[in-house]
């Protein structure tokens, strides 16, 4: 009897303490809640929040970091239910089509026209390349200000290129043929020198969005397109098929990559380069920070070089196209403190704070003045290549179904081709068919 009663009392006590949580409304500073993907994007918001509160003591910042794997799901769940929890939202080109179509993001232009909320000259909107701003523009309205702009770059080990007598790529980058022949030269050299664990190059082949993003760049650079103006898929064109074939040939024909690339995403690419297991790499610019840090990467610090990704010979360097991976800061349509949110958005992407963001390993911020700044460039030699790449940003289809096309259709089919289960031609045909069916059912034709 005693045991039972003690257990029940214990339990009741626990339950009372378990109510916990919930929002506290009341006097004091207005709370601005920020929804952001956990990782470097969120870290900057955490770090700078106190600074904002110091400058604007009437506000209190709450940073809600959401794990990357569920970020998109959680935000869609919340926003489709009209949740007003968040005031500021950080999102990328992957989220924008759906969130815009749902009317979940507030256009910024009205706020930008208000003199006391937005100081046009100080802010200098033109500091951002047009290509970046256009990503978040619809019907003349701007929906987000850029926090970070990234691109795939060609990473190379200067010492290895030197060792095998290869010149570093020029500003316009190598052509794909040059890239392959350099890699082959390195691979031969490594084999001759008896180095068995290092390979010439490494790229993303895992069944996730990375492979789709990169191959898409190849398709564009080869003069192909994903969808035409009527939204009909164009993947069965010879340009597209050749683009995919060149990618998979790296593994199957030229054998210049580790066999494990079929399972590599960003993290494995980074580790491969970090451990000195590859001389070249097609990797996101963000990896540069780790690879240049002597504490984190003793094997590669001081030896890395960066260039624009390879263009296709048949079309030349001007046809090069880069996948736009851009994170923007915007305002929720449902939030209760829109003006306050706007202040935060503008403050965070302003010149001074963007500078802080960039110099603390946040990424590139998208402001060309910062990417040209000599002091910043000396610590971040990847930025000139990044700035160059940004010129070639290509727009993405503006339909909510785009996420599925990228993450599901393109990814699984192109991974199948890389793994060798199907030929590039078959992969493109299956993908084309699937996209056609998808958009047809969605009512686009």
């Amino acid at each position: 009897m005693k045991l039972k009663t003690t257990l029940m009392i214990l339990f009741a006590v626990i339950s009372i303490f378990c109510y916990g949580g919930g929002q506290k409304e009341g006097k004091g500073p207005t709370a601005i809640t920020i929804a952001v993907n956990v990782g470097p994007e969120a870290d900057a918001h955490h770090r700078l929040a106190n600074e904002f509160e110091r400058q604007f003591p009437q506000y209190a910042i709450i940073v809600d970091g959401i794990a990357r794997s569920v970020h998109s799901t959680k935000m869609a769940t919340l926003l489709s239910a009209g949740s007003d929890i968040h005031d500021v939202m950080i999102f990328s080109t992957a989220h924008f089509p759906l969130w815009y179509a749902g009317g979940w993001i507030e256009p910024l232009d009205n706020y930008m026209n208000s003199k006391d909320l937005f100081n046009t000259s100080n802010y200098d909107l033109n500091d951002f390349p047009e290509a970046i701003l256009n990503i978040f523009r619809r019907k003349g309205n701007l929906f987000a200000l850029p926090q970070e702009a990234s691109a795939y770059l060609l990473f190379y080990r200067k010492d290895i290129l030197n060792q095998y007598g290869i010149d570093e790529p020029p500003k316009i980058g190598w052509s794909w043929k040059q890239y392959i022949s350099s890699a082959q030269k390195i691979q031969k050299g490594l084999e001759n020198d008896g180095i068995t664990d290092m390979y010439a190059t490494v790229f993303a082949g895992r069944k996730n969005r990375n492979i789709a993003q990169y191959v898409l760049q190849n398709v564009w650079a080869n003069g192909g397109e994903l969808l035409d103006e009527k939204l009909k898929p164009q993947l069965t064109s010879p340009h597209a098929i050749e683009a995919l074939k060149e990618y998979t040939d790296q593994l199957h024909v030229h054998k210049i990559t580790p066999p494990g690339v079929i399972g590599y995403a960003y993290s494995e690419l980074l580790t491969t380069l970090q451990q000195g297991l590859a001389a070249l790499g097609l990797q996101w610019n963000a990896a540069a920070a780790t690879l240049l840090d002597p504490e984190k990467s003793p094997k590669t610090a001081g030896k890395m070089g960066f260039s624009v990704i390879p263009y296709f010979d048949s079309k030349g360097p001007n046809q090069l196209r880069v996948y736009p991976s851009i994170w923007g800061v915007g305002i929720s349509s449902f939030g209760k403190h829109k003006e306050a949110a706007f202040r935060y958005v503008v403050w965070f992407t302003s010149k001074e704070i963007a500078r802080d963001y960039v110099t603390h390993g946040g990424g590139s911020s998208g402001r060309s003045s910062l990417l040209n700044d000599p002091q910043i460039v000396s610590e971040n030699p990847q930025y000139p290549a990044l700035l160059e790449s940004m010129k070639y940003y290509h727009s993405l289809p503006d339909i909510p179904e785009w996420t599925f096309i990228l993450e599901d259709i393109l990814t699984s089919n192109w991974n199948s081709a890389l793994v060798g289960d199907v030929t590039p031609k078959q992969a493109m045909e299956t993908a084309n068919e699937a996209i056609l069916k998808l958009l047809e059912e969605a009512g686009y034709y």
Partner: protein, 305 residues
Amino acid sequence: MMERIDKINTRFLNINYKIKKTLGIFGFIIPALLVLFLIFIFPLVNSFWLSFHRWNLITPPRFVGIKNYLMIFSDPVFWTSMKNTSIFSVVSFCIEITLAFFIAQLLNHKEVKGKAIWHAIFILPMMLTPVVLSSMWRAYLNREFGIANFLLTSIHLQAHAWTMESKTAIWTLIFVEVWHKTSFFILVISAGIVSLPKDVFEAVEIDGARYWQKTRMITIPMLTPVFRVAGLFQMIELIRIFDKVYILTEGGPGRSTSTLSFIIFERSFHGWQMGWGAAMSYLLIFITMIVAVFLIRGVKTEVMR
């Protein structure tokens, strides 16, 4: 006259008794039913209704009848995932339950020392957070810098990209699953073995029964209810596998490890086709129920006891 009053009285008492009896019975069951009903009735109904509509979160749902269900049956991706899920579930289940049975028996043998410690070790994998354990194995199984390949090559076995080659991917998933969940069965079967009446075993041992006879004639039949329930629940979990697939293989390579839950997630939260997702979910519920009923066909006989 008195007789009539007596009759009325007894009938009244009977009814009273019946009411009390029913309340007594249902008093036990009502709390559970109440909780489940209150929480699940809305989502279940909502999902069912949604499965006959098309909804992409931004426009109001559009009625399409049974089109979603038809689409699913004509989609090759669905059939591939059926195949994948079936292979995965059946193989994992068989390996887990066999392995666990033998280990549980070993653990409870009277000559084994340190039972508590063994138990604590063997149930460790089950305790790990799925996210942690999947990430852990992803690191270990990496082709170039994973520890698994390193150990294999040092004893001259072939290294593979375990999670990414089409031939090995699903077996790798099964391996990680077995590593993870055998401990669940060990726990449950152990609890069952401990509850078995010792006198039956003693009697049979005096008559000279050997290990296999004992196992076949006594242990297995007496543990069957335990097997059934634990097996039922594990099978349901196996059919619904998602976490490991998402982190280890992301449904790849190609579609060789896309399971039913995985394609529901993909379509619902990458494709934003909530109606299709709801229809697929109901299909999954239906499939699972069939398997469940098949597994517990013996329930009626149990009830008779």
